[in-house]
């Protein structure tokens, strides 16, 4: 049973959905605070190359994961300073971080006498449960077959969902994204909330990238994440800014992106481009369907998404 096409697809959907989920949940938190970070793909790439570098230096995959988190958060801090304090146009800023991230990560991969590009990771993550548990039919590979980051991502989804919808702080966060002026009047430090959530969200993108380079592939080549960051941004919209729905969506996207590979193993031959285009087509169709279902009621997202908050002051 465990070698059937369906199980293989589900398992690889979870594996390839995990970076989407990590980046997506991070972006949900940032966007809920009202800041649109379109630089996710760039942050993922820089997180991936730094995490990979850390792994090569230390010989430990978890060091790579930590490196990805740290570098993602640092870039997030720069993004937050420009977007929140300097009130820069967030769309253009995000695109700028993306282009910069492609250039910086490629550059880091190519410097020195023995560059990182084209090498395999010295260490990678192993499944947590060996032997018996992971051999169980169906639940073995689907539930017990993963590395530690997958389980952490499940915990993060539950935690983010609880935080957003069951705690006072989460209520305040949503208020900051929906109506920063009223939140400010209530005594909430709007910009501080935004800084925190942008940095946490960027750390999510960084760890997503490191997961790709030290666990999923595990190697570094230029533009390793190949558009995953953009799928993650689409995922946030499709999920309606809800972590649990993002989990389902991430695994569906993950499975679709692996569909070709699984079919090929099963003997079905389709052009690579047809398979390559599937996740993007699926994202477009999902986005259009979501906006059709909300016709006339605007976006489901935070009301003030992408708008810097300026307290009205008397000059």
């Amino acid at each position: 049973v465990n070698d059937s096409v369906v199980i293989t697809l589900v398992v690889s959907g979870i594996a390839f959905g995990t970076p989407l989920l990590l980046a997506g949940v991070g972006e949900i938190l940032a966007e809920r605070s009202g800041v649109l970070n379109l630089g996710v793909e760039g942050l993922m790439l820089v997180g991936a190359v730094s995490g990979f570098w850390m792994t090569q230096q230390t010989g430990g995959a978890l060091f790579g994961i930590v490196g990805g988190i740290a570098v993602g958060a640092l870039m997030g801090l720069f993004f937050a300073a420009a977007a929140i304090t300097l009130r820069v146009n967030q769309v253009v800023l995000g695109l700028a971080f993306w282009i910069f991230g492609i250039g910086l990560s490629s550059y880091i991969g190519e410097i020195g006498a023995s560059p990182l590009a084209g090498t395999r990771a010295r260490a990678t993550l192993r499944p947590v449960f060996g032997g018996g548990l992971s051999d169980l039919p169906i639940v073995g590979p689907v539930i017990f077959g993963h590395d530690v980051i997958v389980y952490i991502s499940w915990f993060l989804v539950a935690a983010a969902s609880f935080y957003l919808f069951r705690t006072r702080a989460g209520l305040v966060l949503r208020a900051v994204g929906d109506d920063p002026a009223s939140s400010d009047a209530m005594g909430v430090q709007v910009n501080l909330m935004r800084y925190v959530h942008v940095v946490v969200g960027a750390a999510g993108a960084g760890v997503a990238g490191a997961y790709v380079s030290v666990a999923l592939i595990p190697a570094w080549v230029e533009q390793l994440t190949a558009g995953l960051g953009w799928i993650a941004i689409a995922l946030v919209v499709v999920s309606g800014w809800r972590p649990w729905r993002a989990l389902v969506g991430a695994y569906v996207f993950g499975a679709i992106s692996r569909l070709g590979f699984v079919l090929q193993v099963g003997g079905v031959k389709l052009p690579a481009e047809l398979l390559g285009v599937m996740p993007y087509l699926f994202a477009i169709v999902a986005l259009v369907l979501v906006s059709m279902s909300r016709r006339g009621r605007g976006s489901e997202g935070p009301v003030h998404l992408g708008q810097p908050y300026v307290r009205e002051e008397l000059a």
Binding site: L38, G42, A82, L86, R87, V88, N89, V91, V92, L93, L95, A96, F97, W98, I99, F100, G101, I102, G103, L104, S106, Y107, I108, G109, E110, I111, G112, P115, E222, G227, W230, I233, A234, V237, P271, A272, E273, L274, G276, V277, Y280, L281, A283, I284, L287, V288, V290, S291, M292, R295, G298, S299, E313, L314, A315
Partner: protein
């Protein structure tokens, strides 16, 4: 105790002074170059020699200048594509994909008609084919945006990957008319007939740059001096005001997307019929569309300014290969371009605001109890 503390206050400027508007692009390039020098130094390269190699290979001699001008033509057009849409606060980041489809359209017209129609006519049709391809592809994002409010940012970006796969499919995975029937090591694009290629001005420089400059003037007139451009700018300033003034918002969105996509498609035609002479994915997929965002931002969405800015960005691009030969990874160029864009948008802040040290307002004044 009333208002004794001092604080930093941001004051909005009514209109940025001219020196600031002209100086901003130069300042952002300067700061990015400094950051780049830091990265080069830390990773063990000599920034001074890297930068002088760059300047030499972009402007040193007739050949280098010619290469830069050939590269600049599509960048002017993608810059215009982005500038038109952003003027309307439509974030069309799909110039990349619209360019691919424009290239396919232009190559298709050239291959089908190239040997049957006289030169000037077929070149005109190739240009129109490119523009039409880009415009129609942009429509795929424009319709959901106008009628359903679907985010054009995400949809146009997803469409870039769709266009990329279509382009690759035509050459690498099918026996389409675009592909050279003789496959050597790798499949390549089929050469378009000589008659369909852009005439050369001098050396390898084709009419592409003149076409691009001409289109820039047309777009500048269109945006600044026509009713259509006026309405577009009102929508950009305030959609509510535009609605109140009787502007048909949905229609404006569709029209702006069509013009924006046509510009990107035109860039595809310029690359295929001007530079390459075939539908060659390896040369077409080269960030021309994405760099259009950089061109438009540095030009501050001014159509005429897109021309010199594109020449500057093209110069950076032509320098890439020579950097690689000098031992510096050429990805430093893309990194620098990203940094320039970051500092250009940050610079907008200094255009809009003035930082001033001011007396803190007494609480009474903030509440509006100003003594009169």
């Amino acid at each position: 105790m009333i208002g004794s503390s001092r604080q930093l206050v941001l004051e909005q400027r009514a209109r940025p002074p001219l020196w600031a508007r002209v100086g901003l692009p130069f300042a952002s390039v300067g700061v990015a170059a400094l950051i780049g020098a830091l990265f080069l130094r830390v990773s063990g390269y000599d920034p001074a020699s890297a930068y002088s190699t760059m300047i030499d290979s972009a402007f040193g001699g007739r050949f280098a200048i010619g290469e830069t001008l050939v590269e600049a033509a599509p960048l002017v057009l993608t810059g215009l594509s982005v500038a038109i849409a952003f003027n309307l606060l439509l974030f069309n980041v799909g110039a990349e994909g619209q360019l691919y489809v424009g290239a396919i359209g232009a190559a298709g017209v050239a291959l089908v008609l190239g040997n049957h129609v006289p030169g000037p006519v077929v070149v005109t049709l190739v240009i129109l084919g490119g523009a039409l391809g880009g415009a129609l592809f942009a429509l795929l994002a424009a319709i959901p945006r106008a009628y359903l409010g679907t985010s054009e940012i995400v949809v146009t970006l997803m469409l870039n990957f769709v266009a990329l796969n279509i382009l690759n499919y035509l050459i690498f995975s099918s026996a389409s008319i675009f592909r050279d029937p003789v496959v050597r090591l790798f499949p390549t694009g089929r050469a378009i007939p000589e008659a369909a290629r852009f005439p050369l001005l001098t050396g390898r420089v084709n009419i592409g740059i003149l076409l691009a400059a001409f289109v820039a003037v047309v777009i500048w007139l269109l945006l600044g001096w026509t009713r259509w451009g006026f309405e577009v700018r009102i929508v950009g300033d305030s959609a509510a005001a535009a609605l109140y003034a009787g502007v048909n918002l949905k229609r404006k969105i569709i029209e702006a997307f069509l013009v924006s996509g046509a510009m990107a498609g035109l860039a595809g035609a310029v690359i295929v019929a001007g530079r390459l002479g075939s539908l060659e994915p390896r040369a077409i997929v080269s960030n021309y569309g994405y760099l259009g965002i950089l061109v438009a931002a540095l030009a501050r969405l001014n159509a005429l300014a897109c021309v010199p800015v594109a020449i500057f960005i093209a110069a950076m691009r032509t320098a890439g290969p020579s950097m690689q030969r000098a031992g510096v990874p050429d990805s430093i160029v893309l990194m620098l371009q990203g940094a320039v864009l970051i500092f250009a948008v940050i610079g907008e802040f200094w255009l809009r605001y003035r930082v001033r040290v001011a007396q803190r307002h007494p609480a009474a004044l903030v509440r509006g109890e100003r003594a009169t």
